[in-house]
Amino acid sequence: MANVSVKNLVLNFGSVEVLRDLNIEIPSGEFLVLLGASGCGKSTLLNCIAGLLDITEGQIFIGDKNVTWSEPKDRDIGMVFQSYALYPQMTVEGNLSFGLKNAGLGKQDIEQRIARAAEILQIEPLLKRKPSALSGGQRQRVAIGRALVRDVDVFLFDEPLSNLDAKLRADLRVEIKRLHQTLKNTMIYVTHDQIEAMTLADRIAIMKQGIVQQLDTPYAIYNSPVNKYVAGFIGSPEMNFFDGKLAGAKADGFEVEGKKISLKGYDFADAPRQAGQGACLGVRPEQVVVGSAAKAMPVKAKATVELVEPMGADTLVWSNFAGKPFRFLMEGTAQIGIGDKLDIGFDPAKANLFDAETELRL
């Protein structure tokens, strides 16, 4: 078991700053997900930790050992790639054993390790086959197996499920989670899929432009995003944002298009604030209640249905609130049509408030 720590890491490609002063502490046994849109530097960071990219400044520790200058093979890591990167002309067994043979391990030891990995991943029947005769899901299992046999402390996953179709992705996601529960290794997992991130992670690091925006548990990231970017990135359908300003003597109210909303019960951050300050209120579509229950909510309104998107379990309704498009979720069984008038309401205490300038949480 090993913890991983990234200290003051900077990576420049020429004059382009790809990673800027990153500091991440990953305790032993944690499942950390690096999440972000493409080009945010998440895969780059993973490659740095693996030692596949030379960093410009800073240090990387794995298991309290400074590995900043170490070769990938000496870092006690195993890595799984998006394109599987299996050696195509070797059998599955050959793929699993090639690295071990090069490390000079004994034949018996290698056989034992392969048997164990094959059992964990349920790929025993595939050992004699070549990668070209495997399905995408099976290939990815073998790729995980190649990391597994190395008997390493840290697993690195670089978008391992992105090449699979939706159903397989869901299946393998569960397996990876189970694998983590069995092995209890430290795992660092890069993805752009927020469902994967939410379901797998102990903690998520949301990245943008080479900077970690928020590093916290999935719960905290979903419920109290530190800034507007994170709030908008996490959650589907996307959060509704209303640009307005703070109001009231203690600046504990919100005003948008002449509509005043009391923020009673909202857990304000420590940042100083004042009335009249520009702010942005974020309400998740799933926080909105419809029908008779809406009457009990602090904020109530009548909404006219403009567009309906049935999604099976839920139905997404497009409407209008305070002069802005407003999305909210209803049950999939709801029978509504365009032009229907609905009672809606939400609790601002559970909403999110951001500064208009800095976009940080208020």
Partner: protein, 303 residues
């Protein structure tokens, strides 16, 4: 968010970029090998230039690798204007202009025909098209020797055997497989939706080709031009078979000058003539750079 850890790097632990010595053993071996190889490849060019700038007495005394003591451009002038092949003594200039007259129309016609061909194959597939195309590609591998004489008969029947026109036709025909393949592959890679949209808009065969495909395909036309200019300029076999001494292309004339058995061998003139002949494709090569590589790779790999 910045962690207030002090920079451990100052304590002498590994930090930041892994230090790399410029003169590591790996680099010395790698660059050393490459430089030696590069010198080997450059050697003939160097020898050509050096020899062509020496006078004959100096050549007889020194070795061919020594730089010229006394630089003279006379061999160049002689090679260009007065060197003899058979009865003609007007130098390589005659061959040069012949080659220009052969290359320009051949390049234009062969590319025009092959691009329309490739376009028809990529976008307007008709029954049997693939059969002809397969034959064409296999034809590229058939030794020319097999088709030399039938081609002579064909040209003779048309009354253009031994003329520049005849040679242009020969180049157009034998350039067709590779060019058609090149254009077909390129046009296939253009999204089909574009072609479909144009058809829905009512454009026909020629207007789609001229107004949509052509403007999008400039790079591949350049690649094809590079391929054809060097290929046709460097041709020897067709030149010697299908033309007469008066209109021999430059390569044939060069060979006749250098390998003529009469008279005293003037190595400096020979080398000047050799450089002159190589100059056109070399210029094309150095100007086109990466496109040249793309051309030969595209023509070869995408079977």
């Amino acid at each position: 968010m910045a962690d207030a850890t002090l920079n451990v790097g100052q304590l002498g632990e590994p930090s930041g970029t892994k230090p790399k010595r410029t003169f590591s053993r790996r680099n010395i071996i790698l660059y050393g090998t490459l430089i030696v190889i590069a010198m080997y490849y450059l050697l003939p060019l160097y020898v050509m230039v050096v020899t062509s700038l020496k006078g004959m007495p100096e050549i007889r005394l020194g070795n061919i690798f020594a730089p010229p003591v006394e630089i003279t451009f006379e061999p160049w002038a002689k090679a260009w204007a007065t060197a003899c092949t058979g009865l003609n003594c007007d130098g390589l200039s005659r061959g040069f202009w012949n080659s220009v007259q052969i290359t320009i129309p051949s390049v234009i016609i062969s590319i025009a025909i092959a691009s329309v061909n490739g376009y028809a194959l990529a976008n307007w597939r008709f029954k049997g098209a693939d059969v002809f195309f397969t034959i064409l590609i296999f034809g590229a591998f058939i030794p020319y020797q097999v088709m030399l004489y039938p081609m002579v008969i064909l040209l003779r029947e048309m009354g253009i055997y031994g003329t520049l026109t005849g040679l242009v036709i020969v180049h157009t025909i034998f350039g067709m497989p590779i060019l058609t393949l090149l254009f077909r592959n390129y046009f296939t890679s253009i999204p089909e939706e574009l072609f479909k949209a144009a058809r829905v808009d009512g454009a026909g065969f020629w207007s789609i080709y001229l107004k949509i495909m052509l403007p999008m395909s400039l790079p591949i036309f350049v690649v094809a031009m590079i391929l054809q200019i060097t290929g046709i300029w460097n041709d020897f076999l067709f030149g010697v078979v299908y033309t007469k001494p008066d209109i021999y292309p430059m390569t044939v004339q060069l060979n006749n000058i250098v390998n003529s058995v009469q008279g005293v061998k003037e190595y400096n003139v020979n080398m000047a003539a050799t450089i002159l002949t190589g100059l056109v494709p070399l210029t094309v090569y150095f100007i086109s750079g990466k496109l040249f590589v793309r051309g030969i790779a595209a023509g070869a790999v995408k079977g």
